[in-house]
């Protein structure tokens, strides 16, 4: 549906990728760990290796959780827009097909949060 308006109604989206100075947005959620209340938002260069997210970014974001150090990244299950997805850790963000404002989540099998409450 078109907006009901008194005249022509066309405006630029506020969050075009061009507005992020060479970065693109990526959202990351950690399933079953709601101590982190919401998925996180990041501006990453598309050429950044995916494994840099795992090794250099997420530890400082999620490291305070006692489960984080126990994650076996080789067994982690990934989802992109809710559907199973298999990233290549050796490739970059764009090579993995991730576009601006994509949302990915990961599930770490066997880890279900503080006292198994998904916290």
């Amino acid at each position: 549906m078109a907006v009901t308006a008194i005249g022509t109604y066309a405006f630029e989206p506020k969050d075009k990728v061009e507005n992020f100075h060479g970065a693109q947005l990526l959202y990351i959620g950690w399933e079953d760990h709601l101590m982190y209340c919401a998925p996180l938002a990041f501006p990453f260069p598309g050429a950044m290796p995916f494994k840099a997210i795992l090794e250099q970014v997420l530890p400082s974001c999620y490291g305070a959780h006692p489960d984080f150090a126990k994650i076996e990244w080789s067994t982690v299950e990934w989802f992109r827009s809710g559907k199973p997805w298999h990233p290549d850790y050796g490739k970059s963000i764009t090579e993995n097909g991730l576009r601006h404002k994509d949302v990915i989540r990961f599930r770490s099998p066997g880890l279900s949060g503080i006292k198994d409450t998904c916290s």
Binding site: M1, K14, P39, C61, T117
Partner: protein, 517 residues
């Protein structure tokens, strides 16, 4: 020369008719639709504006007189409150954080309501509708002012209240109430009144004002109670106006029904999302609690709102979509919301804390199905961490819903352990939502919401630094620079209540000496 009255005094109804119909005129050199250009494009059909009956036939002289008397009483009490250091009589310094939330999140909306009703008070073709909206516009300005004056007493002694107007346009969580009202203001006049007069003032207002004002009464804040009372008679007039507007629009033309229904679906959900802040205020921020959010939703939402929609069924109106989901979420909303502010307590302009033992027992009793099972372990873990000197703060910005702008913390209606993710593709970009209903709102008018000023994205675009700040400078701390842009006094306005300046001062001024001593 004395004039002798030729007739006896006019009755209220006659005076009101003179004020409205009597002062109106038919245009002669411009067509009506040019004088009132905004009342047709939304698709609402009005055939006879004279069918509008304002249930409050209030003339201007009576209006000024009533309001003037209320002002005198209010300011006498506010003065007495200030002179007697009434702020020291509140239950606990944690309570003051509820007031911070009010002045930051609610009072700016009163001012926006003043502007919105001034606008529609000019635009409606019908003169009675214009008069009613103009009076409400003046009411709203008065509410904004009395709230500022009441809270200014607290601002002299406590943090987190000094720059609320500046914060309203910038701070991440205040974009939630701000975008709610901006969305209504940028709709047409009929959408605005359905959104604000009906969905907010009529359906949801009891879930906003009753909790804050009863909370104030329970916690010994007589200043705030008094502005609540002073606003109460206005609010009942606004509620009556909200109902009159809906009935008038629905009775004018059957084609109006589906348009109004869609607005009700949208504005119930938009308003309910704003009330997320109230839910956590009730359950977590009030040291002496009035009732739980769940109980409030059951009384004011399910019972009262349910009866209202039964009444409206004869017009072909059903309950808003999202109504059932709100009932499911009543078990979870406040716990999840408070956890968000606990996560981001370094960037909030009020203090956060983990619930006390007494609070936790109360929460267990009020939420027997969810608190102990799902939320107590989380808060107790945080409590333990804080005791070990590792108070948990989430240092990474969250993903936001494009429509309501709230961090994506809401869980699936069918599974409270899973975050609810929804998305739409529009013109080559993705847009994300916290719920089916926020997605529906976007999908109906994507052109509008692609312009959402989402605080997290604005920060990442570099638009939330003070002028002259150089993000390329060595050692640049972007999040700290954002807090400077907010005018947040780090260590005073934010962080945990435990150890805060508010906590120490309140204890000292009450003669309890230093905290922990």
């Amino acid at each position: 020369m004395d004039m002798e009255a030729s007739k006896k005094k006019l009755g209220l109804k006659e005076r009101y008719n003179h004020l409205t119909r009597g002062l109106d005129w038919e245009t002669t050199y411009q067509p009506k639709e040019k004088v009132f250009p905004y009342t047709r494009y939304e698709g609402i059909k009005i055939h006879d504006w004279d069918k509008w009956e304002d249930p409050f036939r209030l003339t201007m002289d009576a209006y000024w007189k009533y309001q003037g008397e209320k002002e005198k009483k209010l300011y006498a009490i506010i003065d007495a409150f200030a002179q007697n250091n009434g702020h020291l009589g509140v239950s606990d310094a944690r309570y003051i954080n509820a007031l911070k939330l009010f002045i930051q999140g609610v009072s700016p909306l009163e001012y926006m309501a003043h502007r919105g009703f001034a606008h529609v008070g000019r635009q409606f073709d019908g003169v009675s509708a214009r008069i009613a909206c103009q009076m409400q516009s003046v009411d709203e300005l008065r509410h904004a002012q009395t709230q500022m004056h009441t809270v200014s007493n607290y601002n002299k002694y406590y943090n987190g209240m000094h720059s609320w107007r500046h914060w309203h346009d910038r701070v991440w969580y205040l974009s939630v109430p701000k975008s709610f009202f901006d969305d209504a203001m940028s709709g047409g006049p009929f959408e605005f009144v359905v959104a604000i007069s009906f969905a907010f003032e009529y359906v949801l207002t009891n879930l906003l004002f009753v909790p804050f004002m009863s909370g104030a009464a329970y916690n010994g804040d007589m200043g705030t109670v008094t502005f609540g009372f002073s606003a109460q008679s206005d609010e009942s007039r606004h509620m009556t106006l909200g109902l009159e507007i809906i009935k008038f629009i629905l009775e004018q033309d059957p084609a109006n029904v589906p348009i109004v229904q869609r607005w009700m679906d949208k504005w119930f959900w938009r308003g309910y999302k704003v009330l997320t802040l109230v839910s956590m205020m009730m359950d977590y921020m009030l040291p002496k609690k009035v009732m739980s959010w769940k109980e409030a939703w059951e009384i004011y939402g399910e019972q009262n709102g349910g009866a209202l929609f039964n009444d409206l069924a004869r017009y072909g109106i059903r309950k808003p979509k999202g109504w059932e989901q709100a009932s499911i979420e009543k078990e979870h909303l406040s716990h999840q919301a408070w956890a968000v502010f606990y996560n981001y307590g370094a960037a909030a302009l009020f203090h956060t804390w983990t619930p006390t033992e007494e609070d936790k027992d109360w929460l267990s009793a009020k939420y027997p199905d969810t608190f102990d099972r799902m939320y107590r372990p989380r808060f107790e873990y945080w409590e333990q961490q804080a005791k070990e000197g590792k108070r948990f703060y989430n240092g990474t910005l969250p993903m936001l819903c494009t429509t309501c702008q709230i961090p994506m913390f809401f869980t699936e209606p069918t599974d409270p352990t899973k975050i609810c993710y929804r998305e739409s593709d529009y013109q080559g970009d993705k847009y994300h939502f916290c719920s089916d209903h926020c997605k529906d709102i976007f999908d109906y008018e994507p052109e509008k919401y692609v312009q959402s000023w989402l605080p997290v994205h604005q920060i990442y675009q570099g638009n939330c630094f003070n002028p002259g700040v150089d993000p390329t400078a060595p050692g640049f701390d972007p999040l700290r620079a954002v807090l400077d842009f907010y005018h947040l006094n780090f260590g005073r306005d934010n962080l945990d209540f435990e150890g805060s300046e508010d906590q120490k001062n309140f204890a000292q001024w009450n003669g309890h000496g230093a905290v922990g001593a």
